[in-house]
Subunit: 304 residues, 2 copies
DNA sequence: GTTTATAATAAGGTTATACTTATAATAAAC
DNA sequence: GTTTATTATAAGTATAACCTTATTATAAAC
């Protein structure tokens, strides 16, 4: 087991470069005996002579040449490491691990793209999962941040809202209610609603809304993706309630219409969430700030 | 300027591997506070936290992950280095820098081949030059060993003879003296001799011999290569005196004949030479021993 | 020979390193 | 709540790391 020190390697490199103990001592602001000692210790450590002494000149031995190569390589690694760590400090580089719930997938990539555009060198790992999985990833500390609708009441979680999440009623373009304005909520009582699985934030918001208005609605097909609901609504199987963000495309192309029901859109909020006490990386922190300050504005702009 | 130690990296690696200070302490046969300290120092050095502490669990930070990569790379370098140095020690590997005078080129490669065959992993750099250049390389410490005929009287040089170097008189096969035996030296007085340049070891040995026998010979063409002399002798331009080793091929194929002159062959010796006080590498030393102990025998064998 | 340049060696001292033990703090598990 | 598992902190210590100055040894240059 050899116990060499980085100091020894550093001194050795200097001597090997100058082929002189005295020059090395000058360079390192040491006395010559100090250099002699370091080299001696290094030679003792590896049990091989590193220099040959012929007259006043010294030469590298075969072992010395070999060691020099490795020593240089290690120095390079250390230098690279220093740069890498400095970059991390300065946020010139870094990795953002983030998970978003499925519905957020309709706008999160857009925001991430903007963020990456601003902070070159930041790499992002985006995971899209259902609410349950996202929460597990949070508690397992697998991710820095999460974006979701309703934050859990769990005390181990910090969350903050950063953008409105308007829930709208969508219908196929040929639906009779599409022509009407200020549709009373009561009118929805006759309609069939396609709903997300229970436990979904959208689903519970919807149920709370109708409960508040004392309305019983028909629940049609129950699916676990918003995508399926959009398809089903287009096919005329019923109405849907969903985050307006998730339906931008279909609304724009006219495949779906928003019904102007009184009390809608239900304004909920997107939240950025992290495990409590988690020390956010500078990148994660920057993204969190970015969301809080600019997400709403950016999403608004992109609509126009 | 960051002053981290290999110890810190080693401890860090262990903690990163176990994701536990206590497990790392066990592995390293330390107490847990000792580990805490090393990590703390490391974190102070790089001014970045390496671990996150969430509850009783710890996790690597981004910086920690980054550092781990570099740390592992450095450890690998060190391990590789250790192996390389061990190989050097054990002569499993190594480089032999050797120069030989031109005339030795007729047998030196053969010996080197045998040597390399025995010590796999040894690489050889063989340089063939005239005596003067070889000596310069020796004093400049560019080579480990040299092979030459007459070693210089220089006190800075260690030399030892390892093999006979018989100088013979060669003639073209149709030369009248070829049929005779025990030719008296006097008979050569009428012959023309093709000679090497003055300063050559062969040339001076020849001159000493004829001077001792008080014979004046005719000197024909003077060249700086033995090869040219062999060609000239075959062409009938005169006789030659040269190391028998350099003419093996021509003798075997009958293109040249050895004249059985009294007092011949003149026995001189091949010497292995190194700069005084030079600490020979294990490979160089092994080759030197190899020459002293086995070269003569091997050359003898190869003749048959 | 003397001078000059270089490295080795010896002696000594300060500091920092790398631990230890003991105890406190924290959070998870029960 | 109590217990258990973990890390942090504090205080103390032996030692080795690292350097200095002073001197010696060596060989090259003059």
């Amino acid at each position: 087991m050899l116990h060499l020190t980085l100091r020894q390697l550093k001194v050795f490199e200097s001597v090997a470069r100058h082929l002189s103990y005295s020059r090395a001592a000058d360079e390192l602001h040491l006395t010559q005996p100090a250099v002699s000692m370091q080299i001696k210790q290094l030679e003792d450590n590896i049990s091989l002579p590193l220099f040959e002494h012929l007259g006043k000149r010294i030469y590298l031995t075969e072992a010395g040449r070999e060691l020099y190569q490795y020593s240089r390589a290690i120095s390079q690694q250390l230098a690279d490491m220093e740069v890498a760590l400095d970059e991390l400090k300065g946020m010139e580089r870094g990795k953002l691990n983030i998970s978003v719930v499925t519905t957020a997938n309709y706008f999160a990539p857009h925001l991430l793209a903007k963020f990456c555009q601003r902070f070159r060198g930041v790499t992002v790992s985006l995971n899209v999962s259902n609410r349950e999985t996202v929460l597990k990833q949070l508690t397992d500390n697998l991710i820095d941040l999460a974006i979701m609708g309703q934050p859990p009441e769990n005390l181990d979680i910090d969350s903050e809202s950063f953008m409105e999440n308007p829930l709208v009623v969508v219908a196929p373009p040929n639906h009779p209610l599409c022509q009407e304005h200020n549709i009373p909520v009561k009118r929805l009582a006759n309609e069939t609603f396609l709903v997300r699985e229970s436990g979904s934030g959208t689903r519970s918001a919807m149920e709370r809304f109708f409960a508040a208005h004392k309305i019983n609605i028909n629940k049609g097909m129950e699916t676990d993706t918003t995508e399926a609901i959009k398809q089903a609504v287009q096919a005329g199987m019923g109405l849907g309630i969903m985050s307006q963000h998730t339906a931008e495309l279909e609304l724009e192309t006219g495949r779906l219409k928003i019904l102007e029901v009184q009390g809608f859109p239900i304004i909920r909020y997107w939240h950025v969430v992290n495990r409590k006490n988690k020390r956010l990386s500078s990148v994660a922190n920057a993204f969190r700030e970015f969301l809080l300050k600019e997400a709403a504005k950016l999403m608004d702009e992109s609509k126009n």
